[in-house]
Symmetry: D2
Subunit: 343 residues, 4 copies
Amino acid sequence: VIRVGIVGATGYVGSELFRILHQHPSVTIEILVSDIDAGKIFSEIYPHFNGVANYQIKRTEELDNYSLDCVFLALPHGVSMEFVKEKGSSKYKIIDMSGDFRLKSASLYEKWYNQQHIAKEFLTKAVYGLPEIFRTQIRRSKLIANPGCYATSTILSLAPLIKNNVIQPQDIIVDAKSGTTGAGVKLSKSTHFSETFGNFSAYSLSNHRHTPEMQSVLKQISSKNVKMLFTPHLLPIDRGILTTIYTKPVKKISAELLREMYLNFYHQEHFVRIINQPPNVKNVRGSNYCDIFVTYDIRTNNILTISAIDNLIKGAAGQAVQNMNILFNLIESTALNQLPLYP
Amino acid sequence: VIRVGIVGATGYVGSELFRILHQHPSVTIEILVSDIDAGKIFSEIYPHFNGVANYQIKRTEELDNYSLDCVFLALPHGVSMEFVKEKGSSKYKIIDMSGDFRLKSASLYEKWYNQQHIAKEFLTKAVYGLPEIFRTQIRRSKLIANPGCYATSTILSLAPLIKNNVIQPQDIIVDAKSGTTGAGVKLSKSTHFSETFGNFSAYSLSNHRHTPEMQSVLKQISSKNVKMLFTPHLLPIDRGILTTIYTKPVKKISAELLREMYLNFYHQEHFVRIINQPPNVKNVRGSNYCDIFVTYDIRTNNILTISAIDNLIKGAAGQAVQNMNILFNLIESTALNQLPLYP
Amino acid sequence: VIRVGIVGATGYVGSELFRILHQHPSVTIEILVSDIDAGKIFSEIYPHFNGVANYQIKRTEELDNYSLDCVFLALPHGVSMEFVKEKGSSKYKIIDMSGDFRLKSASLYEKWYNQQHIAKEFLTKAVYGLPEIFRTQIRRSKLIANPGCYATSTILSLAPLIKNNVIQPQDIIVDAKSGTTGAGVKLSKSTHFSETFGNFSAYSLSNHRHTPEMQSVLKQISSKNVKMLFTPHLLPIDRGILTTIYTKPVKKISAELLREMYLNFYHQEHFVRIINQPPNVKNVRGSNYCDIFVTYDIRTNNILTISAIDNLIKGAAGQAVQNMNILFNLIESTALNQLPLYP
Amino acid sequence: VIRVGIVGATGYVGSELFRILHQHPSVTIEILVSDIDAGKIFSEIYPHFNGVANYQIKRTEELDNYSLDCVFLALPHGVSMEFVKEKGSSKYKIIDMSGDFRLKSASLYEKWYNQQHIAKEFLTKAVYGLPEIFRTQIRRSKLIANPGCYATSTILSLAPLIKNNVIQPQDIIVDAKSGTTGAGVKLSKSTHFSETFGNFSAYSLSNHRHTPEMQSVLKQISSKNVKMLFTPHLLPIDRGILTTIYTKPVKKISAELLREMYLNFYHQEHFVRIINQPPNVKNVRGSNYCDIFVTYDIRTNNILTISAIDNLIKGAAGQAVQNMNILFNLIESTALNQLPLYP
């Protein structure tokens, strides 16, 4: 049995981790940590867990009193690296959900995050936790940098194209749309119900922090410099990311060839579904699936790739558990087979 | 292993039945039936099941080619009784989701449904499938009348009061609010997105068909004539029912006593959670839970009971599987332990 | 021309006041006040007013530099009475949107608001600003206590019944549902989009502050002690209140008689529409209408009254302008004829 | 006074036309036409107009009994050209909301609409009713082809760039998102509330009918062949279009220069607001505004233009009234100054 702790348990990603891990047959959740909510009962913060479990939230320092095999960090960037700096050499494996260890270069981190990196020595040890691409490296790692939600949907959408040298790697338009849970549990004007309801807008134009993450991971995959314009939008829904991607082919291509290429690329992947209609976010709600559709517009010579994920699951907590399953040699889909909740 | 068929598989209740039964360790789904959609592939109608299963929809008459232990009827009222009239004496057990066998009296049925009952001989054989109240009778039955969604939330809310003779049984106000999936997959102006979005209204004033169902089941429980005014409202959400119930105590009471009474009444029930804050529908979304809160307003001398369910699960498909588990002597919560999807 | 100031201009009621008054042919908006947002440009806070007007927000003390005929207070309760205490004897008329002057009794105020009343001398001077009921008194007043949103819909729904002695005045159930703008611009967990979206729940059971307001105004109308149980619910929409009211007749009644009684009661009222179908909130969105439907359930002997308003307009800013029109002898509907925005 | 008729009055665009025209000081609405709903009372179909007006819907043939100055056609494409073929030479001016007269070329029409054009003789007489671009031609015309909703937001966004030769005219990506009222009053699975709520997806990939409309109008403006990939998405809201456009500069440019260019281009336009933050759809809800934001991403060398409109107003009924005001030499903004309804 794998003994786990969740640090930052009282955010949305933390509570989703709890939901999934609680149903995992090989896991016991030993401790839930949140310095802010320490002392409270978990099911009072999240009453949907009433009657399910009766955890009292602990402080970070109490973590050392537990024998743990795996610790999930559902912390804001900046806070994660403090934790890793201090406890990164503990016996347990760490799966970090923040952006702190996703970039290999501290200077790139400092440029996009406007913040010094204080745990640089761990940057090279961390493996980017996108199982469909880096499964082998994940298996051998002790520190997993779990991908961002936008990054998951974008990289999975582009990997077949970029790996197979089908597109111009420096002319990529990513127009992404996310539900509000991506912005977390923290109150803000832009996620105040009266403002967001019936509304829609773009944000973080030109400077969203997932941009360098996506570019450098795609470079790792293809050994080519990748440049993309990434434009996120805020959808007035709770869960779900839909990403629409426009790329230019460098060779003769067709919709059929593209579809076949994607089917081949992912044919052994349980959680990636190559579908033959444009995806929608509700078809993956509550599941660990990433649905991808690809086509070619012959008139304008554009490849169009559209993908959908549940940002809290394949975009965060579900993918983290998938990584844990790999780290501990379990069947990769364990506890992740919950079907989408539709309608 | 239990071999099941789902008739009316392409409606919302049918697809939820599939979702739950597909994950049931003791069930094989042998056949999906829909006369309207026969010939189609199930995952083309419901792409959230892409990659999960590959069923072709069959016609009702093909049912006889299969050896089945249990058949779920997710059919409109009127159609269900035709099926039962014809096949009600088959070897398999039948769990009917329609209103056709919920009332014991054919004349009551004919009054509220404006339609003749053509399978009266089965009315007395049918057991009302509310496990928390009728578990013993369900176990021995061959034909289950699965309760309506509003009825489930209302009866579970009122049962402790009525059974313990705490309230005036003829002065009950039920103000209920349901998401749109309760109205099914059928297109209508009142569930056209542009009309329903940002909107809210009451409907079926004084004449909703769950009224006689609730009254007669509560009479069964209490041996008293029960009279309630039931006012349903349409919520601009997909899933969830919240029911607010106002009753008059016949004896001295307090919020604490009421809470204790409810805790006692349901203390062995896995799926009923007596909570100490007003419930909300998202805390049960995707689960088989019914959350109930009770209090007493001393100033106006009213008991206030509020409950929440997911109308497609505890209000329909989940409860049907709960009934199947009882019928086949399985652990009652098998395949029903999925935790609520929040937020 | 009427020179007005809006104090608390940067809340939702304040911005709606601006929207309506900006289009008023007899009004000039002299000053917008908010101590918190002083110095900012109004259209930067509310970009929907871009290109419309270019006000800089001022501090309360700057109000004295302007010659004003009418001041609207869109302030939280507690803050309003400080303003009135200090400036209540100024030349201008005051229309207060808070709860501070709606109750005639300071002790009642202190009981329900948990706070001392510091401007008691103005309580008797204030007139409750519900034009359909208190038009004559409003005309002569200098201080208007603009009704609460729930109170507006409830009192307008009950006035014909209570005035005509049709119901038991101490057995009233009010089950109300409001959109989130009723909770204002202030961030809170219960109006965080991820929490509220797809959700629904009751709140403030037994202790909502509009209860004594409604009871005492209805007593003013009828000279009878009125007792009601008021249960508000939070709708996952931005605007709109739907109120469902259950009362017991004291005499023989019918749906037709009731309807006629309501038609008579409001036959000269421009903003009250007695309709013959259950109302919905979108049919009044963006307008100053209050739609009311009344019926009688003979089976259970209940009168059912349902009403709908836009909480920010007839429930707040629109009604305030209606009061201003009365105070200054203008046609009562001036600037308030905007038709509902549907769908 | 201008005597108008609305043909197709019972759709969403027809009802919005009524709402706006009813408040127009120089207009009398003489007749509302709908062959399907003939005989019904308008306010029974649209109860938000209760108490406002009491029209009985007429059949098309009854139109000839009225002396009219202007007829609005809110009809599906295909039906409009039948009307124009038959009555296009009447005395009254016609403002057609369908796609039937927006393309100058019958063969282009037939290719994208899969349908023969039966009123070709009117194609050259029709003027494309986008006032900000074609005001002069509109003034002299008798038949206005009112632009599509997507086309309005896209053309207004691109006109400054294309007119000033700033971009490559054949490398344009338009990623647009529309609320459901754009799909009209007709029931369909894709606008069934249970399906659309909490959902988001792309549709009509590569083949949406507004594509040739936008391309040919932009060619008219610039004398250059224009090629764009247009990808519409369905937003789970009722009203609003947000359009995100990616173009490639052909000369050195900056965000500041672009902004200035847009300000100049539209500096006399009442309904186009060049704003300095990304727009959102709620800031224009209920109004005739088009909000536009432009910027330049130096890293990837893309120009990013984002615009927002209310699809039923600036995208349909409001723009039609703007055209009518031009046709009859009224102040162009008459009846169109309603401010946005926010929040």
